[in-house]
């Protein structure tokens, strides 16, 4: 890689010296692993759909270009620009989500997608990073300026987005969004009693969903009692872990992946474990954990509440989504259908993380003033 002298004051050079290069490297590792794993996991699925074997791999590579572009562009932004972008993009995202619910095609009983020039986009994926930034700003503003109704506005925005997600219905994503918002509330100093109340409310909400939404009832029943119904994918996924063992079967020697319908999307972690073994799975977990710990330490001394809250929500999105993906494939959680960040096949997920990671890099940049913290 080209080295920029520290005296060079061009945008690219400033960016290179301010950015968290270790996180950037870790992200690169994840993306490369993603390409390898999609190449291994997707050909059987492509063949089942009558497509050329490397169809999904090509599509994924094509989506990587705008994703990297977005990531770079967003990582250049100042905090104020980030907030302005989110404020502009949020209404459009909400509108697209509503469009998907009322006019979009139904896939497996859920209306989450809109078609755009033959491309299927899932707008709710984009709602998450924008929400993280707007909500962080609102809460920070409320803390700074008593009288500003930041909490109320943040709650209102949260309710709008989560209602749309529940209408789709997309329970997994609603869960991630609720945790992102919950983490911001937690950090912003909400009394423990209120937080306990919110958790109780969440549990009641889940219970109501279990009682009144057949979709959720069946998911949870299948989790609690695997014999209750068709949890074919989870059974196959567990077999994949057993088959993989510690060292894995080796690339393209996996058998279970051949019969796992969503191997390249919601069960790519199982493919990783089957072919590359537990050792690789632990490596991937270590990379995710590294990114989280590293980012936390970069903002730890930051005095700006906005930066702390926005970064936290983005990290929760990133970390929780990886946890839910892994947990589902190991039957630690009910099957949720969630992508593994930066690894699973899927254009919307990739682009959304392009924005989220770009924002994360922007927020964890070394501050020029040097006033707030030193580089770690």
């Amino acid at each position: 890689m080209k080295h920029f002298p520290r005296t060079d004051r061009s945008i690219l050079s400033n960016w290179w010296w301010a950015i968290d290069r270790l996180t950037l490297f870790a992200l690169g590792v994840l993306i490369v692993c993603g390409i390898v794993l999609v190449s291994s996991a997707s050909p059987p699925a492509a063949e089942r759909s009558g497509l050329p074997p490397f169809y999904y791999v090509h599509k994924q590579l094509i989506f990587l270009l705008p994703t990297l572009g977005l990531m770079f562009a967003v990582s250049l932004m100042k905090e104020k620009t980030l907030w302005r972008m989110s404020l502009l993009a949020m209404p459009a995202t909400i509108l697209m989500m509503a469009t998907a619910i009322f006019f979009g095609p139904k896939v497996n009983g859920a209306a989450r997608w809109i078609s755009f020039h033959g491309m299927n986009l899932q707008p709710s994926e984009f709602a998450k990073p924008f929400f993280a930034i707007i909500s962080a700003w609102l809460i920070a503003k409320a803390r700074q300026k008593p009288g500003f109704p930041g909490y109320q506005l943040s709650l209102a925005l949260f309710l709008i987005i989560i209602s749309l997600m529940l209408m789709e219905p997309d329970l997994g994503m609603s869960f991630v969004l609720a945790c992102m918002w919950g983490a911001q509330m937690f950090l912003s100093g909400l009394p423990m009693m209120v937080i306990a109340g919110l958790v109780v409310l969440g549990v009641i909400g889940l219970f109501l969903a279990y009682l009144f939404s057949p979709h959720v009832t069946s998911r949870i029943d299948r989790f609690l009692d695997p014999a209750a119904g068709n949890n074919y994918q989870v059974r196959k996924s567990l077999e994949a872990f057993r088959h993989g063992g510690f060292w894995g079967t080796g690339p393209d020697h996996g058998i279970i992946k051949l019969t796992l319908p969503d191997a390249h999307e919601d069960f790519i972690f199982a493919v990783a474990a089957e072919e590359f073994g537990m050792v690789t799975a632990i490596f991937l977990i270590a990379v995710y954990a590294f990114i989280i710990i590293r980012s936390v330490s970069r903002i730890y001394r930051n005095e700006d509440m906005f930066v702390v809250l926005a970064t936290t929500a983005l990290l929760v999105q990133f970390g929780l989504q990886s946890l839910v993906h892994m947990g589902s494939s190991l039957q630690l959680l009910p099957a949720k259908g969630m992508t593994l960040p930066l690894i699973s096949y899927g254009g919307s997920s990739l682009l959304s993380f392009g924005i989220a990671i770009g924002a994360l890099l922007a927020l964890t940049r070394k501050r020029k003033t040097g006033l707030l913290h030193d580089d770690v």
């Binding site: 300026k145 058998i255 936390v296």
Partner: protein, 577 residues
């Protein structure tokens, strides 16, 4: 000053804010720790699976551990007469550990000689791949298994598997459904009764009759071809027991080669598709009217002018421009007359009656592919009027035959079923929806439509057929298409002691020279129903009554028919909408 928080240098960190930040930092550590604990749980769980429960490829494929033989052979599915629709056979599959192959060229040659489906070059490629596991072939015959075993190659292994066979291929594909490679039911009866079938034992006996199923499929396919329709569906239901004798959805597929089937082919139109049925629904609104006691066969409703309500106009396809009696409304299929009659019953009467007929919920049936009807909510006055002639409400063909059975069988709504009851002597339980007297009047009306109206092509000499045509403009994305129809015919026979309801429905049929360009239900679907009845009647030992003529039927309704002339049909086959 709204965006001031970004101007850090203007910000003075007061004591409380510093405190707030301290708390945020502390809690940030908690959030981070929670996530790390999550990752730790993942690693522990993986250790359990990957290390403590590790399975080698050989163990996974069951060599040495004959897991498959312990599993009972999946139960068969048979029709009402015991003809096999689905059966499982034990078969061996052969695979190789390519790492153990010494001479792939020789082995490929030997295997290719024994397995005619395999190509030698292809086998060679797989055998020299060096992979721990490659399939040679799934499901081989016992002879092949013996011969391959005799090769004595240590790289070759067998796995005992069971394979599901569907001897009748396409015949009842969507109803019977299919299984995945591991014999788990994933559609149709196979899915609905997966547990019962997987446990093995006695065959599951369906109510279908493969003979009638075949007749319906053949006639429907011929009609689709003749009229260049997109697709079609047909049903035969026993009106006294609710048993489904035939259920056909075309295009269909061969469940023995499920990989080649398209979603369009797998789609069971009889149970999973919602259609706006059009005029066949007049059967139900008029039954509602007659059953209310407010409307009689002699009641007259003025159909001289198109009806204007809100921004809608209701027209008649073959306008008579005069007041019509109920039998006239029915045989001329007058939308205006039906709408006015429905209006006279009050705003909720039709809706409540449709609810009683089961048009507002899924029809109970033993396949998972069930359609939820579409109906207006809230239900306004205009909905009453359009629903009376079958627009603005969409139900599945199964809903239609179930409700029609209740109209003709004396008034009892039954639960449709695909599975033979354990004890055939127990009479099926149902709920009364109309009186026996109303049911009788409806039979007279249905009879008249075939004898002298739009259903003439379903007339089968001696079999005493009743019925109603339906031709609905196809609704595509909320817009009605003028030149695309859903054309159907709902038939009942024998009409005086009804035993079967027969429905044929075609999506977007095109008129031909023989039909003078018309694509109405009377021209396209009625002949299918007529032919099915003519072929299945003798099979079921129904005695023809040759003395019944079209004229004798007309005469019996003479008081209500203004245009009655001896020896002349009242309505022509084309005039139905």
């Amino acid at each position: 000053m709204a965006f001031d928080i970004f101007h850090r240098h203007k910000l003075t960190i007061s004591g409380t804010q510093a405190q707030a930040l301290e708390m945020a930092r502390l809690r940030l550590i908690w959030v981070g720790m929670l996530m790390m604990m999550g990752y730790l749980a993942i690693i522990l769980r993986m250790g359990d699976l990957c290390l403590l429960h590790h399975k080698s490829t050989a163990m996974l494929m069951g060599s040495g551990a004959p897991a498959e033989t312990e599993r009972p052979l999946r139960a068969s599915i048979v029709d009402r007469n015991g003809n096999i629709l689905a059966v499982s056979l034990r078969m061996a599959s052969v695979y190789a550990d390519a790492r153990m192959v010494h001479d792939p060229a020789k082995l490929a040659q030997e295997l290719a000689a024994l397995l005619p489906k395999q190509n030698e070059a292809d086998l060679f490629k797989r055998l020299s791949s060096g992979k721990a596991f490659v399939w040679i072939q799934r499901f081989i015959t016992p002879k092949q298994e013996y011969a391959i075993n005799a090769l004595g190659d240590p790289a070759i292994h067998f796995q005992e598997e069971q394979r599901r066979i569907y001897p009748d291929a396409n015949l009842a594909a969507q109803v019977v459904g299919y299984t995945d490679v591991d014999s788990n039911g994933i559609a149709g009866i196979e899915k609905f009764f997966n547990k019962r079938l997987a446990a093995g034992g006695k065959p599951l006996r369906l109510t279908l009759d493969v003979r009638v199923q075949h007749i319906m499929r053949q006639d429907l396919a011929a009609a689709i071809k003749t009229f260049h329709a997109l697709d079609g569906t047909g049903l035969v239901m026993d009106v006294n027991t609710g048993q489904i004798i035939a259920m056909v959805s075309l295009p269909d597929f061969d469940p023995n080669h499920i990989g080649e089937a398209t979603n369009n082919e797998k789609f069971n139109r009889a149970t999973l598709a919602d259609y706006e049925m059009g005029s066949t629904f007049k059967t139900f609104s008029i039954a509602a009217g007659l059953n209310s006691g407010k409307v009689h066969l002699s009641s007259v409703f003025d159909a001289s002018h198109p009806l204007h309500i809100d921004q809608f106009y209701i027209h008649d396809f073959d306008a008579k421009d005069r007041p019509l009696t109920i039998p006239e409304i029915y045989i001329y299929s007058s939308n205006i007359g039906t709408a006015k009659m429905a209006e006279s019953l009050g705003p909720d009467y039709i809706r409540d009656f449709y609810q009683k007929l089961g048009f507002m919920q899924q029809a109970p049936i033993e396949v998972p592919e069930r359609a939820t009807p579409l109906y207006p909510s809230p239900w306004r006055e205009v909905n009453t009027m359009t629903a009376a002639f079958g627009h603005g409400i969409a139900v599945s063909p199964l809903h239609l035959v179930r409700a029609a059975s209740a109209i003709v069988n004396g008034g009892i709504l039954l639960k449709p079923t695909l599975v033979m009851p354990d004890n055939p002597d127990v009479p099926p339980q149902g709920t009364r929806v109309i009186s026996a007297a109303t049911s009788e009047k409806m039979r007279r009306l249905l009879e008249l439509v075939v004898a002298s109206g739009t259903g003439a092509y379903a007339w089968v000499k001696g079999y005493d057929v009743g019925g109603k045509t339906g031709t609905a403009d196809k609704n595509k994305n909320g817009r009605y298409e003028n030149h695309a129809n859903i054309s159907s015919f709902l038939g009942v026979f024998p009409i005086w002691h009804p035993r079967y309801v027969v429905l044929a429905l075609l999506d977007d049929p095109q008129g031909t020279k023989a039909t003078h360009g018309f694509s109405t239900g009377g021209y396209t679907a009625a002949p299918v129903v007529g032919d099915v009845i003519a072929r299945m009647g003798p099979m079921y030992g129904i005695k023809p009554r040759m003395y019944i003529t079209r004229d004798s039927i007309e005469k019996s309704m003479k008081p209500y028919l203004k245009e009655y002339k001896e020896g002349q049909a009242l309505a022509s086959v084309s005039t139905d909408h």
